[in-house]
Assembly symmetry: C2
Homo-oligomer: 336 residues x 2
DNA sequence: GTGAAAGCGCTAACAT
DNA sequence: ATGTTAGCGCTTTCAC
């Protein structure tokens, strides 16, 4: 940072005290209109900008939100981020971003970065590793510092804080029922993320819907994306399937392609629904019916919840739920 | 922020001075090993964390980089961001993100956010509106503050600062030549971004390649994505075309679909190459051959350039160029 | 080896 | 209406 002009400098130039300058620039009526304008003009001419760091130190408020997301190359998190930025900016807050890259270690480091006073609160979504190991010690640490925190999408019951989640349970439930209503009876649930909370919620919703419909479930958990195509292909050849519900976007697109390449007519012979309304789903062939999580809104809600807490307008920790919507495209049959 | 423990608190507890505590925690040999360990243990037990704001004020360095990108929902910028975050974190820097949403006003506001001492430097890519209007006054403002700045991808000659760009010119040049080498002779350049620098560079590369090959160019500038399909469809029906070079990813995917839906065999009758190696290109049908800009590396290079300047290791402003690579997929013919 | 004091840039209660 | 002073939390020079 170059040598920037300070209040002190301005004060010296005009032979007044620093506090006079400060008050004048803050339009304090204690100062005469005359001096106020004089000082403001000088400040203007020197392009004076108050030092934000000093203001933060003084006010004990940084007007900054720390955001920790597991990945930025997943479109869903980008969209949430978009919502966060929009809402934060609208409310006069800046955002600092840390990526955990799905690792617990990096998540913990990110929190360390934030508990030193550089932010007024944290918005976070759990790393996959953290959800697997269920080791939340780094959060207890941060909670000792009383730094307000909001968790979104990937959350844990073991951490007490405000939460914003998608209604994944009902999303899967609705999607399953919808498949049923379009005539599907053999619905397989393909789940590449059985270890993270959202994957589990979606499974539960699927199971409950089938239970209600008195249909026996078929679940295909897959370790990673590279094996989905082979495993699903095998599954299709040994099981009667007329619909696939995939727990995320990529697995849905892969499932769609596997079914299509295996000669099934889509949606007539096999219908496919995925989670997450992203580019891949929109541009797949045929275009994919998805359960949209309204990512942007999740971001906005998270900011709202956090700022409400920072501004002390809330007491009990709240759990906000964003409803899902089915976006109907060409991988599913129309309702009759 | 809750009432956190400070140096002062620790000092009071141990009946020593603040400076002793500060020195002890910073392992200053002036302090006896005995007191040092005693103080450290106390600090540990109280989970003391130094206040970063105070440190920044004192040291006049925030260890933070401000990043301004035009859009976060464009995969390219996400990838750059990924590279920025990775490199910054590795070097001990945090990043604050502002989105200009392609608007000059928001770009200017973002810069205002940064010239108040909250960051040590700025990494920025120009908003489309700014590139259209060529009004760079908000940058002159920031340059007065001597805040180091690196511009990437969308840059302007009129602003003197370090730059990191993709070699869009040669990228288009290489792609055009490649199309020629696979037998194409009627190559149309579809450009939805003729107003921004990268779109212009790509056009120039295309034109130069055709000039060298003594082939007359065909350029189809389009106002926005919604009309590409209609305009290109019309173009194909009135012109002989055996290859399409599209100036960005989305237009390439649309072009691919238009050609395919109009009955052309891809790549045999029409080859398609796009810019940007993203999800859409990878998952289009057929998969799309693209000019990859190595977005992540652009991010990393930008951080390197910025930190070099912050640490005063550079004098002249430098222009770093990241080479492109053609990713060969199924929308182009193989070389014989 | 430890402490006092000054100062980073700002704000605000309290004089004058 | 203006100035003095203290203090945010930290580092660092200079005394002791």
């Amino acid at each position: 940072m170059g040598a920037k002009i300070t209040l002190k400098d301005l004060a010296k130039i005009l032979n007044v005290s620093v506090s006079t300058v400060s008050k004048a620039l803050n339009d304090n009526p204690e100062i005469s209109v005359e001096t106020r304008t004089k000082i403001k003009e000088l400040a203007e001419s020197y392009r004076y900008v108050p030092n934000n760091i000093a203001q933060s130190l003084k006010s004990k408020s940084t007007k900054t939100i720390g955001v920790v997301i597991p990945a930025i190359l997943l479109e869903f998190f980008c969209k949430v981020l978009y919502g966060i930025e929009k809402e934060a900016t609208a409310r006069g807050y800046k955002i600092i971003i840390c990526l955990s890259n799905e690792l617990q270690q990096k998540e913990s480091e990110s929190i360390d970065t934030f508990i030193n006073g550089s932010v007024d609160g944290i918005i976070l979504s759990l790393a996959e590793e953290t959800q697997k190991t269920k080791n939340y010690s780094h959060f207890y640490k941060s909670m000792n510092y009383h730094l307000p925190m909001v968790m979104f999408d990937r959350v844990s019951d073991e951490i007490q804080c405000d939460k914003v989640t998608v209604d994944d349970f009902h999303g899967a439930h609705k999607a399953t029922k919808f498949l049923y209503e379009t005539g599907c009876r053999n619905i397989v649930f393909v789940n590449p993320i059985p270890t993270i909370s959202v994957g589990q919620e979606r499974e539960s919703g699927y199971l409950e819907a089938l239970e209600e419909l008195q249909i026996s479930p078929m679940i295909l958990n897959v370790e990673n994306y590279s094996t989905i195509e082979r495993e699903l292909s095998e599954f299709l050849s040994t099981n009667k399937v007329d619909a696939i519900l995939a727990a995320d976007e990529y697995s849905a697109v892969l499932a769609l392609n596997v079914a299509r390449l295996n000669g099934y007519k889509i949606p007539d012979e096999i219908s496919v629904i995925g989670f997450t309304n992203g580019l891949m789903a929109e541009h797949s062939i045929p275009s994919l019916t998805v359960v949209s999580q309204h990512a942007e809104q999740i971001g906005r809600e998270s900011v709202k919840a956090l700022l409400d807490r920072i501004q002390g307008q809330t007491t009990e920790t709240a759990h906000h739920v964003v409803e899902t919507t089915i976006i109907h495209r060409n991988s599913t049959k129309k309702l009759v």
